[in-house]
């Protein structure tokens, strides 16, 4: 399908060059990285930027770095690169697992995790993992650099804390110190690639500290603080799991859309939470292995 409208295209080589262009064009500029969202928008919707700033030429943004217990993911790092990274798999298994569920291999070879949070659709698979790890979003513009906590990043469906002239240059994540297990459980309509109809990411430490986050079950991905507070310090048994499941309705606000009904989402979020908790707990001591069929099917 042809892209029928015209726009300027520019490919800066440095971050400084890029932020200067963004400062000059403001809201008339759009950033192109992996392009898996923006190119589709260009072809199929009235979306019509005046200038497309292709940041793929900025080499410094394509790195995964890990030092002093801090992981830095550049804005050009693709999901495939995250999946293939032993550093990520060993130290941030929830990012690894969530990345394996994003779209298809072809899309993951281009799509970036930073692009995923910039598109900020409610179903984004990277949301729960980044919320659970309490990542920071590193943003730069022509007056300097700042950090935005991921919990303040998502402001609405497809809306973020990004401002005109900003370029997200990467993510920073501290490695959790306690021994832990994680699990990302995603509801799709089949085993093939799908957008999440519901997603839950769970992080459990040996000493029963819990971090839980949902996606696709409200306008933005959310941390389930009240469920975490209930569970913290307690080991999982049938009674506490049932109490946790009851609290799910207070955390999420699912809608009915073409992919699933509100009622099904509400029901299955509870099942998913239970299974994700048990799976994360099991993984504290067992070897990590992928379990895409945790929901059956």
């Amino acid at each position: 399908m042809a892209i029928s409208h015209e726009f300027e295209y520019i490919k800066p080589k440095t971050v400084n060059e890029a932020v200067d262009i963004l400062a000059k064009y403001g809201s008339k500029a759009s950033i192109l990285a992996g392009g898996t969202d923006i190119v589709v928008k260009l072809k199929e919707t009235p979306f019509n930027p005046e200038i497309l700033v292709d940041i793929k030429g900025i080499d410094e943004l394509s790195k995964i770095e890990f030092s002093n217990g801090v992981l830095k993911i550049g804005a050009l790092v693709t999901f495939s690169e995250l999946i293939d990274s032993e550093i990520v798999k060993t130290n941030f298994p929830l990012i690894h697992e969530a990345s394996t569920t994003v779209a298809s291999i072809g899309t993951r070879n281009r799509a970036t995790i930073v692009g995923n949070i910039c598109s900020a659709v409610p179903s984004l698979d990277s949301g729960p993992a980044l919320l659970v790890y309490e990542a920071d979003v590193i943003v730069k513009n022509n007056s300097g650099e700042r950090k935005i906590s991921i919990k303040d990043w998502f402001t609405g469906p497809k809306k973020t804390a990004i401002k005109e002239g900003d370029l997200v240059i990467g993510l920073e994540i501290k490695k959790p110190t306690d021994k832990h297990g994680t699990s990302y459980v995603k509801l799709g309509r089949y085993r093939g690639e799908d957008l999440a109809q519901a997603g839950v990411g769970v992080f459990v430490t040996e000493s029963n500290n819990y971090k839980i986050s949902f996606c696709a079950l409200g306008p933005v991905p959310v941390r389930a603080t009240i469920i975490e507070n209930l569970l913290n310090g307690k080991s999982l048994d049938e009674k506490i799991l049932n109490e946790a499941k009851e609290l799910v309705e207070k955390v999420i606000s699912p809608i009915t859309d073409i992919r699933a009904s509100k009622e099904y989402r509400m029901h299955i979020a509870k099942v998913m939470l239970e299974r994700a908790l048990l799976k994360a707990k099991e993984r504290i001591t067992s070897v990590y292995h992928e379990t895409h069929d945790i929901l059956g099917g």
Partner: protein, 779 residues
């Protein structure tokens, strides 16, 4: 059975290397040079509206635009079985996405940009989106002039209604049968619309040259039917059949969607206004969903009466089709089902009403199975429910009532030879039907599903096939036929048939896609009839060649015609063991005789097949009297389904399907069809679903939300079983089986869900969500 060398062998596809190597050329690959023009279609945003005006002055100003065309340029009707549509909408649009105008430009970007500048003013009409509303008294009419439409004699439209066709069967007395029955089960089943989703979207290029020659290259299942429909529609321009040439390159999947004529008419018509320049249209995936054909949606009201001993006494099947805005092809789906909605059962008293209803949704048309999947979902669900009520095993109940050779069909003719019982027994054994199943996982349950199926080709009684066969110097062969290889392996099987007759191995036979100028007539590659029908034509052509060869040998070598036979590319003689004349010695250059002259010449043969016993002449009120269907292909299938009780998620652990294809000319290809068709059927029941909003707009014309299963979603194990009870009039006993393979999938899943969880789902698709919510509401 005669000793067969090439028939029944798993011969490697003759088009395989071409396709695997990338050498195969598809319509979109053809290079038309710098004069190629592109058309972008301006589409209706409304489901039902009057076109008040079209203003394209701004579009014409865009640099690179050649011209803009509208319905005014082409006031011509077209249609396969009923002429109910125009090339472009005239004064009225009837579905969202209908073609209103076309911008022709030098590049697709320019065409698309200019198309956005075409201003169309509409006056909205109430949209009729539900077939049950559309048949109510006083419903808004889509086609006020329906009474004047031209159609085939076996359609019965009702003027001043939305009913385009009504196929009625009346056999025996079903009301009396229900009164005499010990138990009557009545329920309604709903099946939504579906899309074919062939990997290649529709592409058509038309070229009208300065001599008045119209050539159309199209991704097509029906080159000859397309030529005929183009000739009919464009006759006012003085274009005749001989002036039109349709070239059909390789096709990236059809499934019925590329049968008949849909968007191809646009390229053909636009070309006539752009003399000398080829005009190309390539559908986007979105257009492929909403402006080709869709599988019709259906509401089936089914009533069956049974005696305590399990004998079916009567059936009343009322089938209401959501056929869309134009039914020129889809009405024949309705007709086919009307004739066959008893399923493969012996039922003495039958009432069937299959009603074709216009709605303001995209046109319904051919889709693999041609309506049979739709009614079998309800019928085969019903059979299980009845068996359960009678406390009978569902397979034993079916065996009690299953149709046999010679039984009377709904329309009065008799059932052909078939291996239905053999299929049932083999499936039952392979799936280990009587074994108790229990999941080791406490969250999961297992269920078993079973279904019978049948289908006949739906075709005009005079649909025919033909073949040319010509020898080359080395005794290799070119066979010219006009069916399409849409994945089923048709070209290979045609080579095998000729190979068997002429003793020339298939790798020495070239069979290619057609060009209507060069290749002989074929109706269409639809209805699972091509192997049977064109296979007969090829066999006759090969026999014609053999006859020519033997006559030549008789008059040059003085050997008795009846004593001659072909073996290993040689003519041999039963009474003269040392005689062995290689075909390559004479099939082009003839045979030299004593006086030094040559006799014979190039061996060129022909074969034609038409089912001369078929007829649609029947009483319209009862459908008794004709012989509309040439034969039925039958089969049985079963599966084991694992369901997560808490999520509704399902997985097919094992599926078994047996089909009686008469004779598996190429067992690998038959098994491929069995597997592929079953997967397509499972897709329609588990995942796919066309969703419209209340304005008639399709909400999921994409693979983001119209879910086609991937390789990760296939069952753990699929066992294809071939049954061979020969079709007396088929080539080497073969009958069609391509479409049938998907038919049992939906009822099998419904029956397995019921078996596992005790909930009966009566609407498709049966998604994880639907199963889960049904379980929750049962609690």
């Amino acid at each position: 059975m005669e000793d067969l060398k090439f028939i029944g062998q798993p011969i490697t596809r003759i088009d395989g290397k071409e396709k695997v190597s990338g050498a195969a050329i598809y319509a979109d690959d053809i290079d038309f040079g710098p004069n190629l023009l592109y058309a972008e279609i301006v589409e209706s945003p409304h489901a039902h509206a009057i076109i008040k005006s079209i203003d394209f002055t701004d579009a014409l100003k865009v640099d690179g635009v050649i011209n803009v065309f509208t319905g005014k340029d082409f006031p011509y009707k077209f249609g396969l079985y009923m002429k109910d549509r125009y090339i472009f909408a005239q004064d009225r649009v009837r579905f969202v996405g209908e073609q209103v105008a076309a911008v022709v430009a030098r590049c697709p970007k320019v065409a698309k940009r200019a198309a956005q500048l075409v201003k169309v003013e509409y006056e909205l009409l109430p949209a009729v989106l539900d077939q049950m509303e559309a048949i109510k008294e006083g419903a808004d009419l889509l086609h006020p002039d329906l009474g004047d439409y031209v159609h085939v004699p076996w359609f019965f439209p009702k003027a001043k209604t939305n009913i385009a066709h009504w196929r009625k069967i009346r056999k025996g007395d079903s009301d009396k049968a229900f009164k005499k029955a010990d138990y009557v089960l009545e329920d309604t089943y709903n099946v939504p619309r579906y899309a074919h989703c062939a990997i290649e979207t529709h592409v058509a290029i038309g070229k009208f040259d300065h001599s008045g020659r119209l050539t159309v290259w199209a991704s097509s299942q029906s080159p000859f039917t397309q030529r005929h429909l183009f000739a009919e529609a464009l006759a006012p321009l003085g274009i005749t059949h001989k002036d039109i040439r349709v070239i059909a390159p390789h096709v990236g999947g059809g499934f019925g969607g590329k049968a008949g004529v849909t968007m191809e008419i646009l390229s053909a018509a636009l070309a006539t206004k752009c003399k000398g320049n080829p005009v190309k249209i390539r559908w986007t995936r979105e257009q492929e969903f909403y402006n080709t054909y869709q599988r019709l949606g259906v509401v089936c009201k089914l009533k069956i009466g049974i005696k305590k001993d399990g004998t079916i006494t009567g059936l009343d099947h009322k089938i209401y089709w959501d056929a869309g805005a134009y039914v020129e092809y889809g009405a024949n789906v309705v007709n086919a089902v009307g004739l066959s909605a008893i399923g493969p059962y012996r039922i003495p008293n039958v009432t069937i009403d299959s009603v074709c209803i216009y709605t303001n949704l995209p046109p319904g048309g051919a889709y693999r199975g041609f309506g049979y999947s739709e009614f079998l979902f309800g019928l085969e669900s019903h059979m299980n429910r009845i068996a359960k009520h009678l406390n009978m095993d569902p397979i034993e109940f079916r065996k009690l009532n299953a149709i046999k050779e010679g039984d009377t069909l709904a329309y009065g003719a008799h059932m052909n030879p078939n291996g239905l019982f053999d299929a049932i027994n083999k499936v039952k054994a392979e799936i280990d039907w009587d074994k108790e199943l229990k999941s080791k996982n406490p969250d999961k349950v297992l269920g078993k599903g079973f279904s019978l199926f049948w289908k006949a080709p739906a075709m005009p009684p005079n649909a025919s096939s033909s073949a040319f066969l010509k020898f080359n110097e080395d005794a290799s062969l070119n066979i010219l036929v006009s069916g399409m290889d849409i994945g089923q392996g048709y070209l290979t099987v045609m080579a095998q048939i000729a190979a068997e007759v002429l003793s020339v191995p298939p790798h020495k036979i070239r069979v290619e896609n057609p060009d209507t100028d060069r290749n002989p007539y074929e109706w269409q590659t639809v209805a699972s009839h091509i192997t049977w029908s064109c296979g007969n034509a090829v066999k006759k052509a090969a026999l014609d060649a053999k006859d020519q060869i033997f006559k030549l040998i008789e008059r040059t070598h003085y050997l008795h015609y009846d004593m001659l036979y072909l073996e290993d590319e040689k003519v041999k003689c039963k009474t003269k063991p040392d005689f062995a004349l290689p075909l390559k010695d004479f099939v082009i250059n003839g045979i030299q005789v004593e006086d030094g002259t040559f006799k014979g010449g190039p061996i060129i043969a022909r074969g034609v097949f038409m089912p001369e016993f078929s007829s649609t002449n029947a009483d319209p009120e009862t459908s008794q009297g004709g012989h509309p269907n040439v034969h039925y292909t039958v089969g049985a299938a079963a599966l084991i389904l694992e369901i997560d009780k808490m999520t509704g998620k399902m997985k097919v652990l094992k599926a078994v399907e047996a089909i009686d294809c008469g004779k598996a000319l190429n067992p690998d290809l038959v098994k491929g069809q069995l597997t592929g068709g079953l997967l397509q059927g499972l897709a329609t029941v588990l995942y796919e679903d066309m969703r419209y909003n209340d304005k008639g707009k399709l909400l999921n014309p994409n693979f983001t939300d119209y879910k086609l299963p991937t390789s990760m979603d296939i069952p753990d194990e699929i066992v294809p079983i071939i049954i061979e009870v020969p079709q007396p009039d088929g080539p080497y006993g073969a009958r069609g089986m391509g479409e049938h393979t998907m038919l049992p999938a939906a009822p099998m899943i419904a029956n397995a869900v019921e078996n596992a969880l005790g909930v009966r789902i009566t609407s498709m698709p049966i998604t994880a969500e639907k199963v889960c919510m049904a379980v929750l509401s049962k609690k």
